[in-house]
């Protein structure tokens, strides 16, 4: 199985990847801008994401609510998302509507600012504040990502602050900020455009040249401060959050090799071995055998700069005290660190990852998004075809080396949610805070 990949670059710096597949009359258009919350300046947390909302508010030749309407009227689906390192925008269209999707993306890349108004900014600020209330503040464990970022990254590190942003910083965002952010980051030389599905390569190239060619190159973006971090935290980190939750839940994070590195694949296998599906170690031991957890999993954030995080996530059963939850998870991690992994566990993890990888490539949108990702982070979209082999080549020894280096006590950060209601007295608070 090989996904065809063609690439070229426009004079203004826009990097393009094309991947034809004519099995269904569907085409996916996907743009990655290499800017995320990491690029925000102090006092403007949440701005990259608020800005993403503004990109759906029209541009020079597109009215306020027209972006969504034109795509949906054409029978397409669309959205955008913001992450620490990038912001993406994507549409999946009936293939005869490729030109519309490209034109809409070009219009907002080239001429967003004429459509920006204070009123639109104010409304989207309210929408985003409601998104924060909905997804973070009024959702059990919703603060996990921002608490974790704060716990594991040093102050002033670009990954340290909240992605959705604080209410205060969202309030402070101005139209000037919009203009400045746009000029700095939303330029063709800071973007990757991918098209996957049913299209003709020559026609697509012509459309791209016509629509995106005239957009001027940017003036460059300020470099990120150094993101390099030592491979381990150096000492255990720990934070207890008393929150409006029903069950205690432990997130244990490990500083881990950056996405795409050789060691990353070993870390990814370690994560699957620990927490992917019911046959994983944590599920088998903590949920099935010991019955102290209602659920257990593990994942990597897939950060491509500085260092990544591998996160173990275990939710306690109702009758289990926080201290026991923490102790038993620590015990499992200690054991893994001390004794390593078996061949058969590695084989299981790799088999599951491979099926997921292949199954995910069925969708044109997924293919386009991964092409954009590999192009943005590494300038090599063709890496999409190397993933299966990268995983296949991971051995138990690779995983053991990784686990030996990264799963020691000096590289564990525990973020522990404790039900506020259950904590009835100061004594219990102290007991929970001191538990280890």
């Amino acid at each position: 199985m090989r996904i065809p990949v063609e690439t070229f670059r426009l004079d203004n710096g826009l990097f393009v990847t094309l991947s034809e597949d004519h099995t269904a009359p569907i085409v996916a258009v996907n743009l990655w801008y290499h800017v995320g919350s990491a690029n925000e300046r102090a006092g403007r947390t949440g701005f990259a994401h608020l800005f993403e909302h503004m990109l759906f508010q029209g541009s020079a030749h597109v009215g306020s609510n027209e972006h969504f309407e034109l795509i949906q009227r054409a029978g397409g689906t669309l959205n955008g998302s913001t992450w620490l390192e990038r912001t993406n925008y994507f549409e999946t269209m009936p293939s005869n509507e490729l030109a519309l999707a490209l034109w809409l993306e070009a219009d907002r890349m080239g001429e967003l600012l004429p459509a920006m108004t204070q009123e639109k900014l104010d409304t989207q600020r309210d929408v985003v504040k409601n998104e924060r209330r909905w997804a973070v503040d009024n959702q059990p464990y919703g603060t996990m990502l921002e608490k974790l970022q704060e716990l594991v990254f040093p102050p002033s590190h670009p990954f340290q602050h909240s992605l959705i942003g604080s209410m205060e910083d969202l309030s402070a965002a101005s139209l000037d900020d919009v203009a400045q952010f746009f000029a700095t980051y939303y330029t063709p030389d800071n973007a990757v455009l991918s098209i996957a599905g049913d299209f003709d390569s020559e026609e697509a190239r012509t459309l791209i040249r016509d629509y995106f060619g005239p957009i001027p190159r940017g003036k460059g973006k300020p470099p990120l401060p150094s993101m390099t971090l030592p491979p381990v935290f150096g000492a255990p980190l720990r934070e207890v959050v008393y929150d409006n939750v029903s069950l205690p839940r432990l997130f244990m994070a490990f500083r881990s090799p950056i996405f795409g590195s050789d060691q990353y694949y070993a870390a990814s296998v370690a994560s699957a071995l620990l927490g992917m599906r019911k046959g994983s170690r944590l599920h088998r031991v903590l949920v099935r055998e010991r019955q102290i957890a209602a659920d257990a999993g593990a994942f990597t954030l897939d950060l491509a700069k500085g260092s990544d995080l591998l996160v173990v996530d275990v939710m306690a059963r109702p009758e289990i005290p926080v201290a026991q939850l923490e102790e038993e998870v620590e015990h499992e991690i200690d054991q893994l660190h001390r004794d390593g992994v078996s061949e058969s566990e590695v084989k299981r993890a790799k088999a599951l990852i491979e099926t997921d990888l292949i199954a995910s490539l069925q969708s044109a949108g997924e293919r386009a998004d991964r092409l954009s990702m590999f192009a943005t982070y590494f300038g090599r979209p063709e890496l999409i075809n190397e993933q299966v082999n990268r995983y296949r080549s991971v051995t138990a020894k690779h995983v053991n080396d990784l686990v030996g280096e990264r799963f020691g006590e000096n590289n564990r950060a525990s973020l522990i949610y404790v039900p506020r209601e259950g904590v009835e007295s100061e004594d219990m608070l102290e007991a929970a805070a001191g538990a280890r």
Binding site: D21, A99, W103
Partner: protein
């Protein structure tokens, strides 16, 4: 300067929903196969007519528990061994029950399918329901119920169903059961439900992906031989509303930064002859990003991150509901706008622009919905569960295009009932209760958690 001229669409290419073959095997199992060979992946979806509406009164949740327990042990293998065997094959498998059906869904690379399917056959033929696993899954369900107390979205959905349907309706209780009913389920109940409901004639196997019809037939015949034939008795479903008048319920949550809102009434069964006009009507009302309710609440007022409406399609009449979360201090104005939109779409014809947006979207997006073997298998499951005609997907787009302005108005008038609206607000009663007096939402009840 980007070219100012909006591009016109090119000539559309034809699309057909994947061809599938529907047959009955000698032992009574039905098999539906759609060969789609783009990638070496197959989805196998087993449907058994053993959904939550088959739960006995007082044992609500047993259907879901039985389906989950299928993967937790056979006479030969423990649950841990079952997981291990599937996962060594790289196969992901999940099982569960929704209102109308129990399902087991397997996704595997095509060269591993055979071994995985044979294992699935064993699981369905010889489940052991070990006591320890029955008790564990019950405890995990009880933990999930406990989680709902602090999870406003799930709590609002659950309370809405409870206040919507009469006590004797299965729909008034969560599909996976509540604390009382789950606690009362014994291993005997589990085993009894399985024996009564899991029969060949109640079972359909769907295969979508990189497999031929012949190979599918051979595989399913082999994997599912010697299974009790026959069919189960179906139960009569009660889906009557709890109240004939409007009511509003506040589920009090101190200091909640948002109010979770659910407003609606008992809707329509999936096989209603008005399905297409109702679908298009709802798309305009609250089904699309560009729908009236979302544009009003989100884009005009910034009250919310998103607002939508939907008919929850089931064999029986599932709920019609408008669902959103708004910041607490605008709860009353947000409710007012929702009521306004429900009245407005019943009052006057929608515009031609609105109709074309909904129709063009539902028609155009059709091929995009069936990109994956999982999506194709689910679409075929819809045919099986609701007994829709074999040409349903081939005629779908024409049926959408045939919906007129008058048909939408008629659907709104017949299937939206402002006088029967039940409203649930999960939020801070102190902030919202006084201002609610301005709205005509019926009798107010405040429920403490």
């Amino acid at each position: 300067m980007v070219t100012t001229l909006r591009p016109k669409p090119g000539a559309p290419r034809n699309y057909r929903f994947p061809i599938f073959v529907h047959e009955e095997l000698p032992n009574g199992i039905r098999l539906v196969t759609a060969q789609v060979s783009k990638l070496p992946v197959v989805t196998m979806l087993i449907l058994v007519d053993a959904g939550s509406t088959n739960d006995a009164s007082g044992k609500e949740g047993v259907a879901a528990l039985v389906a989950a327990l299928l993967l937790e042990g056979t006479t030969r293998l423990s649950g841990a061994e079952i997981s291990e065997k599937f996962e060594q094959l790289g196969a992901s498998v999940e099982s569960g029950a929704d209102w109308d059906s129990a399902f087991i869904k397997l996704t595997a690379l095509s060269d591993q399918l055979q071994d995985a399917a044979i294992l699935l056959g064993e699981i369905l033929r010889e489940p052991a329901f070990p006591d320890r696993e029955v008790e564990r899954l019950k405890a995990e369900r009880l933990a999930e119920i406990m989680q709902l107390e602090t999870e406003p979205r799930g709590l609002a959905d659950e309370k809405f169903s409870e206040f919507l349907y009469s006590d004797d309706s299965r729909y008034s209780k969560p599909d996976e059961g509540n604390t009382e009913t789950v606690s009362s389920i014994s291993r005997t109940d589990v085993d009894g439900f399985f024996r009564a409901n899991y029969r060949t004639q109640s079972t359909t196997v769907i295969l979508a992906g990189d497999i031929t019809v012949e190979a599918a037939r051979e595989l399913v015949t082999r994997a599912f031989q010697s299974w009790p034939s026959g069919s189960a008795d179906s139960q009569k479903l009660i889906a009557s509303p709890r109240a004939t008048r409007k009511n509003i319920h506040i589920v009090d949550k101190r200091d909640a930064p948002q109010s979770e809102l659910r407003i609606g009434h008992v809707g329509l069964p999936r096989k209603t002859p008005d399905f297409f006009p109702t679908l298009v009507m709802n798309a305009v009302l609250g089904g699309l990003f560009g729908s009236r309710i979302n544009l009003n609440l989100r884009e005009a007022h910034g009250y919310t991150y998103g607002a939508s409406s939907y008919y929850d399609w089931r064999r029986g009449p599932g709920p019609f509901v408008v669902s959103t979360a708004v910041q607490s201090d605008v709860t009353t104005p947000a409710l007012r706008e929702i009521l306004f939109e429900i009245e407005r779409i019943r009052d006057k014809r929608i515009s031609g622009e609105e109709l074309s947006l909904a129709r063009d979207y539902l028609d155009g997006v059709f091929p995009i919905r069936y990109e994956t073997t999982g999506a194709i298998a689910s679409a075929l499951a819809t045919l099986v569960i609701y007994g829709l005609p074999a040409d349903y997907y081939d005629t779908y787009r024409n049926n959408i295009r045939a919906v007129t302005l008058d048909a939408v108005l008629e659907a709104a008038r017949r299937h939206l009932h402002p006088d029967q609206l039940q409203t649930v607000v999960v939020g801070d009663a102190r902030v919202i209760r006084d201002s609610l007096g301005d709205l005509d939402l019926g009798e107010l009840q405040v429920h403490q958690q």
